[in-house]
């Protein structure tokens, strides 16, 4: 007896909205319904899983739908889980619809229980037990309790490889991440887990395949458990097969790039023992070479053919270049304060040009070397509908590179120090370097400013200006007693001659006025007699630098070096030159680059020429202090003046500078995110010497030998805070010269190790 439904009424809806029920219920007003369509409607409501009971009744042409809602979950408590984190569990539950606010499904609960048992079994925790219980709460809600007893993971009692003749058991078992527990075994690495085993088998296979045993086979693996489920025995039965050597190799398929260019990428030398790894790496290098010419989706498949008689394997590389890909747009994400052009000008990959993996990677390196970003990632996405065009997206995480600090300090030597300094390598995100510094203390008043635009031209020719005004009256700042007022400025240019090397030139002018105090060492008086006390200088500095570091901030690999020659230009009163060399090398010890060894050295040699007798004492090299030899007071190493009435021996500096340090960078234990922090142990050594000392000063003419250098060891920390990098060091002198003054704690703002 079918009828037309004029109206529908839903009874029993407590929490469900009408809208959601309507979207499930197949019948609307005005439909012609009969037994069959009503039954279908009830089934539809049931299958939605929201209702315990559904009843349809008819009152004339009014269809009444009586529903009893299933209770909703309002609280889920999980107890006893240690190995599997609660968030992971909650996600798993949510995945199955068991989440606070959703309707409770009994089937989902059993499913999660089984899945958990599988997870624990995979971790070797065969003794795990899981009980679930449901606790009714008022207003048709309920609480879900999951109680987990994880049990102990079965310990690996014995790993045995049968059938190995070429390599010893120890050598093979050493490859396994599964370990039999030693007595010191506190952590869980003695525990069995299936993933670990499959990883181990893979390592075993590659070990043999990479050493020439192409026919190596794992016949079978047995995992057996003791009845008390506490111990696991793993036995791997293998057949090693014979040793094979590389035969010849060739290319096949549409090469798109000159064949010799591709063949040169192959690292295989015929006659050498076969190695699958070498073969796979050669294939990668070929596809990378194709990628450099736009064939990003190139697919190179190495196919070995085995010659059983003379035990050789010849390899054919099948090349499928795919389309030559072009880059449509390059987008940058994350540069909320750095301007787009600052990133785009580092790009070696152009828009509307063919994509080149080499160019893309070089662009990423250059962004990292800027030192503005703590993280740089690149992603390619194909342009929808255009098979041979891609978009590039470089996502960066900005890091304030430079420091913004105002300092008020008191030090015994220079009294109250007021100072404000802004130094920014990426000033207002413009990519320009700006530094502005004003300090006022008892013995120095200084105002300095410097600016550099690294991209004065589009090719990266940089141009910069700097100016300073300084009044120094140095009596007790550990230097000889005199006043020196100086002011000047310089203009500098620099430009790249290739991806890593740069040349630089700067021309400056400065005026220095000297006034000697009463208690002054002999050297100074002699100097003033010879040279007078006011000088105009026109320093010209030429420099060459090469940077192969992998990152601008906290590099972990690569090297960089810089040579500069400062010469007093024509028209200068004092004629002298200063040659400087700076070199550093980062060598990562672990492949996750958290353990790195770093060596660095600073060398300097200066001398006078023409009618100037000696390198002016206020231009000599100084050593000691945070940025040269840590653990010693600033500028206090090296020769001292023998005779001042006040008895303190003032350091004079020297015309030869030798410093060097060896550092071990290590990961800080217990701290997860190390990306903006660096801790290291250092051994610094250094000193300055004076080659043309006044002969009658015993504390000056030391001969340049290692024993006359000062050295210290200690620990250092660099930390990239949001206002800029901060570095601290604790240094303990190991070898002190006679007059060295040590300084245990030193710090600096704006510089990292």
């Amino acid at each position: 007896d079918s009828f037309v439904v004029e109206d529908i009424r839903f009874d029993g809806l407590q929490r469900m909205q009408l809208g959601r029920v309507l979207s499930i219920f197949p019948i609307q007003e005005g439909d012609q319904v009969d037994e069959f369509s009503l039954a279908k409607a009830t089934r539809a409501l049931f299958s939605s899983g929201y209702f315990n009971d559904v009843q349809l009744a008819r009152d004339g042409n009014l269809l009444i739908v009586r529903l009893t809602e299933r209770p909703a979950i309002s609280r889920i408590t999980i107890e006893g889980n240690k190995e599997v984190k609660t968030e992971g569990l909650k996600e798993g539950l949510a995945g199955l619809g068991l989440v606070e606010g959703e309707v409770f499904q009994r089937a989902a609960l059993d499913k999660i229980r089984l899945e958990l048992l599988q997870v624990y079994a995979a971790q070797g925790r065969y003794g795990a037990q899981i009980e679930t219980s449901v606790e009714p709460l008022p207003e048709n809600r309920l609480g879900l309790n999951i109680n987990i007893k994880e049990g102990k993971a079965a310990a690996v009692q014995h790993i045995n490889v049968v059938g190995n003749e070429v390599f010893s058991d120890e050598e093979l078992i050493d490859l396994f991440s599964l370990k039999t527990p030693g007595f010191w075994d506190f952590f869980s690495e003695g525990r069995y887990s299936r993933e670990k085993l499959s990883g181990d088998l893979e390592r075993l296979r590659s070990y043999y395949l990479d050493k020439g045993y192409i026919n190596f086979k794992i016949d079978s693996t047995q995992v057996s458990l003791t009845p008390d489920r506490k111990h696991v025995f793993v036995t791997v039965n293998i057949t090693e097969g014979d040793l094979y050597f590389f035969g010849d190799y060739d290319l096949a398929g549409k090469l798109e790039v000159a064949e010799d260019q591709l063949l040169s990428q192959v690292a295989i030398t015929p006659g050498e023992t076969f190695s699958r790894d070498l073969m796979v790496r050669s294939a990668d290098k070929i596809s990378r070479r194709l990628g450099d010419d736009g064939f990003l989706l190139a697919n190179v498949k190495p196919v070995p053919t085995i010659d059983e008689q003379n035990k050789t394997v010849s390899v054919r590389f099948y090349v499928e270049p795919g389309n030559r890909m072009y880059v449509r747009r390059i987008n940058f994400v994350g540069n909320t304060s750095t301007a787009d052009e600052v990133l785009r000008r580092e790009m070696r990959q152009m828009e509307a040009a063919w994509a080149s993996t080499n160019a893309m990677e070089k662009s990423k390196d250059r962004l990292e070397r800027l030192g503005f970003f703590s993280e740089v990632n690149v992603e390619t996405t194909t342009v929808p509908g255009v098979p041979d065009q891609i978009d590039l997206e470089y996502s960066v995480v900005e890091q304030l590179s430079g420091s913004l600090s105002a300092s008020i300090g008191v030090s015994q030597s220079s009294g109250l120090i007021l100072g404000a300094s802004v130094s920014q390598k990426n000033f207002l995100g413009s990519g320009n370097f700006v530094s502005f510094n004003v300090t006022r203390s008892d013995n120095t008043r200084e105002l300095s400013f410097s600016y550099e635009n690294p991209y004065y031209t589009v090719d990266g020719v940089s141009r910069g200006f700097s100016a300073y005004y300084r009044e120094e009256d140095l009596d007790d700042d550990d230097l000889s007693d005199y006043n020196l007022d100086s002011y000047g400025g310089a203009m500098s240019f620099g430009y790249p001659i290739d991806e890593h090397q740069r040349l630089g030139l700067s021309i400056g002018a400065e005026q220095l006025n000297l006034k000697l105090g009463s208690d002054v060492p002999n050297e100074l008086n002699l100097f003033v007699q010879d040279e007078g006390d006011s000088f105009t200088q026109l320093p010209v500095v030429g420099s060459w630098s090469s940077n192969h570091l992998n990152r601008g901030l906290l590099p972990t690999e690569g090297y960089s070096q810089r040579v500069s020659l400062e010469v007093a230009g024509p028209g200068s009163d004092l004629n002298f030159y200063k040659l400087r060399y700076f070199g550093q090398l980062y060598y990562p010890l672990s492949d996750d680059q958290r353990w790195v060894v770093r060596g660095k050295t600073n060398l300097g040699y200066g001398d006078a020429f023409g009618d100037t007798t000696k390198l002016p004492f206020f231009k000599t090299f100084r050593a000691g202090g945070f940025e040269s030899v840590r653990g010693f007071k600033n500028n206090t190493l090296g020769p001292r003046d023998a005779r001042t009435t006040s008895g303190t021996l003032d350091p004079l500096g020297g015309n030869v500078l030798i410093t060097g340090s060896a550092e071990l960078i290590f990961p800080v234990p217990f701290i997860k995110d190390q990306s903006n922090m660096r801790t290291l142990l250092f051994w610094d050594v250094g000193g300055v010497f004076d080659r043309n000392c006044l002969t009658d000063n015993p504390a000056c003419d030391l001969d340049m030998s290692f024993s006359n250098l000062s050295s210290s060891v200690g620990v250092g920390l660099s930390w990239l805070t949001f206002i800029g990098p901060m570095s601290f060091s604790l240094g303990v002198p190991v070898k002190e010269q006679e007059h060295d003054e040590d300084e245990f704690f030193q710090f600096s703002l704006g510089k990292t190790f």
């Binding site: 994400v333 304060s337 301007a339 787009d340 207002l428």
Partner: protein
């Protein structure tokens, strides 16, 4: 039976929780409002007030400049209530939060030209507002959304022009003209449209594609007769 057992808090009845939450909202105490609204949502997921609570929660997060939480709450609301009658409010709030997010803290104080920075937030905000406009053209929030969209469109257009200028400087003329064309096709009638056309003309001439250059030039002359010409820094 953990050692420091958290006592099950007393189950505050729903209407009282809602009253406390709206009270906190009226006296602009967003901290308390957020706490109450969050409890309301978890204790009474399907209660009478749950939808209204979720909407108010988005507003509270936004005013408490918790942009991330506001956007997440808006996403959840849009997913849970696809046909809700004031869904437009959710889109408007999400657009607004992203719009504000675009002006990051640093930019507000220092004179940085945000149109040269990462346009991501601006683009998302633009999308939310345009969804709002096409699905609810006469929503009460439409006028304000339209106003903000014009600003955002200019931002996005001038970003493209900055990039195009760089590629002209770099000598990558096809890249420059494509960026210009992107403005013409996606952001018509903005302040930068004229610049875009000028860049296309300059680019095509450099490439020797005079016919394309002339076409672009004629469109430029018709629409922007008094265009001062492209100054390239």
């Amino acid at each position: 039976c953990s050692i420091f057992g958290e006592q099950a808090e007393p189950d505050i009845p729903e209407p009282q929780l809602w009253k406390e939450a709206s009270q906190a909202l009226t006296d602009l105490n967003y901290e308390i409002a957020i706490e109450k609204l969050e409890k309301l949502e978890s204790r009474y997921p399907f209660g009478r007030y749950s939808e209204q609570a979720q909407l108010e929660l988005i507003w509270a997060y936004h005013k408490h400049n918790k942009a991330g939480a506001a956007i997440a709450a808006a996403d959840r609301f849009i997913r849970l209530h696809p046909q809700h009658e004031n869904l437009d409010y959710a889109y408007y709030l999400r657009g607004l939060t992203r719009y504000v997010e675009d002006q990051s803290v640093l930019n507000r104080f220092l004179p940085t030209d945000t149109s040269q920075r990462d346009p991501g937030a601006a683009r998302d905000s633009f999308e939310d507002f345009s969804t709002l406009l096409n699905r609810w053209p006469n929503s009460q929030y439409a006028p304000d959304a339209r106003k903000r969209m014009i600003y955002l469109r200019n931002q996005l257009a001038s970003y493209e022009i900055h990039v195009a200028r760089y590629y002209i400087k770099r000598g990558a003329y096809v890249a420059a003209t494509n960026r210009g064309r992107y403005v013409i096709e996606n952001f018509p009638q903005t302040l930068s449209t004229a610049d875009a056309l000028a860049i296309m003309v300059a680019g095509y001439n450099q490439l020797g594609l005079t016919e394309l250059a002339d076409n672009a030039q004629s469109v430029l002359d018709q629409n922007f007769p008094d265009y001062p010409g492209l100054e390239l820094e």
